[in-house]
C-alpha cells in the first residue's frame, strides 16, 4: 500500500510518500510522477512516511533522478535509517541528493 500526497505549484513539486514503495506500488508512483515531470524544475520527495523500498522503487527513483538532472534538481528528505541503509548498499546515497 502506498499513499502519494502531491503538491505542485510553479514548476515545483513535493511528493510525500506513505507506506511501501514496492513491485505492487511502484507503477502508481511512476505514473503519478510522469503526469507532472515535464513541467517541473524542482522535485522534492518526502520519505517521512515511507516504510519500505525494494528494487522496483529504486528503479522509479533512478528514472526520476535522470529526468530531473537534465532540467533542474531533485531532493529526497526525511529518509529513515532502514531505507538509508538500502541507499548505501546500492550506491543510491551518491546518486540521489539526500537531505
Amino acid at each position: 500500500m502506498l499513499q502519494i500526497n502531491k503538491t505542485v505549484a510553479n514548476g515545483k513539486a513535493v511528493f510525500a510518500l506513505e507506506g511501501r514503495l514496492d513491485t505492487v506500488t511502484a507503477p502508481e508512483m511512476e505514473s503519478a510522477m510522469q503526469e507532472v515531470l515535464p513541467e517541473l524544475t524542482s522535485l522534492t520527495l518526502d520519505f517521512a512516511g515511507l516504510e519500505y523500498i525494494s528494487s522496483a522503487g529504486l528503479r522509479v527513483l533512478l528514472a526520476a533522478q535522470k529526468a530531473m538532472n537534465v532540467k533542474g534538481e531533485m531532493r529526497v528528505k526525511n529518509v529513515s535509517k532502514a531505507i538509508m541503509e538500502i541507499f548505501e548498499i546500492t550506491g543510491f546515497s551518491d546518486v540521489l541528493t539526500i537531505e
Binding site: D22, S54, S55, A56, L58, N69, A82, T90
Partner: protein, 534 residues
Amino acid sequence: MKENNYSAVTVRLSGRIDSGNAAQTEQLMLEQLKDSDNGSAVILDAEDLAYISSAGLRVVLRLKKSYPDLKIINVNPEVYEILEMTGFTEMMTVEKAYRVVSVEGCEVIGEGFNGKVYRIDKDNVVKTYKNADALAEIQHEREVARLALILGVPTAISYDVVRVGDSYGSVFELLNARSFSKILASEPERFDWCVAEYIKMLKAIHAIEVPAGKLPSIKRKTLTGISRMKDTVPDGLGDKLLAMAEAIPESDHMIHGDYHTKNIVLAGDEVLVIDMDTLSVGHPIFDLVRMYNAYVGYSEYDPDIVLSFQGYGADIARRFWHDSLAAYLHTKDEEKIKAVDEKVRCLSYGCLIDWSIRHTDPDSEKDKATRALWMTRLAEILKRTDSLDFEIPDTQKSDPDELDIEAATENLEKVMDFVNSHLDTVNCPAKARMQLDLAVEEIFVNIARYAYAPEKGNATIKVEVLNDPVTVTITFMDRGVPYDPLKKENPDVTLCAEEREIGGLGIFMTKKVMDDVYYEYRDGQNILTLKKVL
C-alpha cells in the same frame, strides 16, 4: 558427656586437641566407650572443637580402627579444612556444622508437597523439607540439579545446607526471583509471554539426552501407580490403560517431573527452572500428565484447589494448560490438541486416582466424589482411546510450512503475508523484518517475471524458523527455466545516475541483507534458499 542412642555412641569433643593433651583425650574417649561393643557406631560431635593437630588426628585414626563406622559431625569450617587437607574426609564420614537459619517472619515464596520456600534476604531463598530424611533428599536434589546444569538446563543449585528448626534447608541464590505463578496472578497481560517462555524451557529440557543410568525412568514409576489402581476401573478398562501405558516408547530424554508455574522463576531477566528432585528420563507425555494434574486434574472437582496452590483461578489455569499444550504441539488445530489432551488425561486420571486412594481419607465424602468424577471421565475417554503415543514435534525447530502459489506479481502480497505469519511467531526486529521482506519480494518477483515466461507456473515457498540462535530460512522452488540468479554479475554501485543501468539490483540487495543465499538445481527444480540470523 556420653549419649547412648541405640547402638550409636556420641562423644563430644571440645576445645583444642594437640600434642599437649592428645594422650589425655584418647584416655577419656576410651573411658567413655568402654561399655559399648566394638561394632557400635561412634559419632564424634565436633561442635565445640576449635582445633585438632596431627597428634589429635592420630587419636581419631586409632579409634577408627576399633570402630570402623566412626563419623565426625558438626565440624566447623576451620577443622573441616584440616580434615580435608589430611584426607580424613575421604576416609570417614565428616559432616560440616550447619549454619542455623531462622525463617520466622520470612516471606513464603513457594510451597510444595515436600516443604516451603522462604526468602531470607533480597538475594537468597531457603527451601525447607518436611521429611525426616531431609539430608539425603537435599543431597539427591543437589546432585540432579548439578547434572541438569551441566546438561544445559538453566537452574539454581543450592550453595549451602542449613539448619532450620528441627529440620534442614538448602539455600539458593535467586536474585529478585518471581515464580510464573506470581506473574500470572498479578500481571495477566503477560499470559502469552509466560506460555511462550514456559514451553521454550520445556522443549529445551525434553531435547536433552541423558547418559544412561543417571536418572530414573518416569515410565516405570507411572506404571507402578497404574498397576496399583487399574482394578478399580470398571469394565476391564484398567487393563487397557496399563497396556497402553506399557506401549509408550522408552526414551532417554530428560523429563522434569513436576513442571508447573511455581517451579519456573524469573530471576532478573533470566528464566530458571527449579525443584529438580523429580528429574527423570522418558517420553514427553509424562511431563504433560503432571502439567495437566497441576492446572486442571487436582482441581477438577473443587476449582478452589488450584487457586490455593498456584495463586490464580481455575479459568486461568485451564487456559494456561490449553495454550501450553498448543504451543508444545506447535499447532492451532483444536482437533490435534484435543487428541493429545485425551491421551494425557488417561494417564493423569490414573495417577490422580492412585494418589487419592493412597493419600486421602478413605471415608471423606469429598474425596470419594472427586475420585468418582475422575473415574467417570477416565472410563469415558478410555473407551475411545487406543494408543497413548503421539507425534512429538521436533524440539529444535518449528514445523516447516509451505505455500504453493502461482508465480505472479499479483500474488506478492499473499507471499508476504505467509512469510510474515511465521515471523510473528518469533521476536523479529523491525529491521530484519524489512530485510526479509525485501529479499522475499526480489526473489519472488524474479520468479514471477522470468521462470515460466511467457507461460505460467507455480512456485513453492517454505519457511522454517530454528532456535538458538533464531534463524529464519526461506526456500523458493520453481519448475521454470534452470537459472542461477547468483551468477549474475553484481551491478557497479559507484556509477552516477546517467551511467547506471537498472537491473541486477534486487539480487544484489538480497545477497547484502541476508546472511546466506544459495542456489541449486535439483529434480527439475530451481531451489533458492535465503538464510537470516535474527
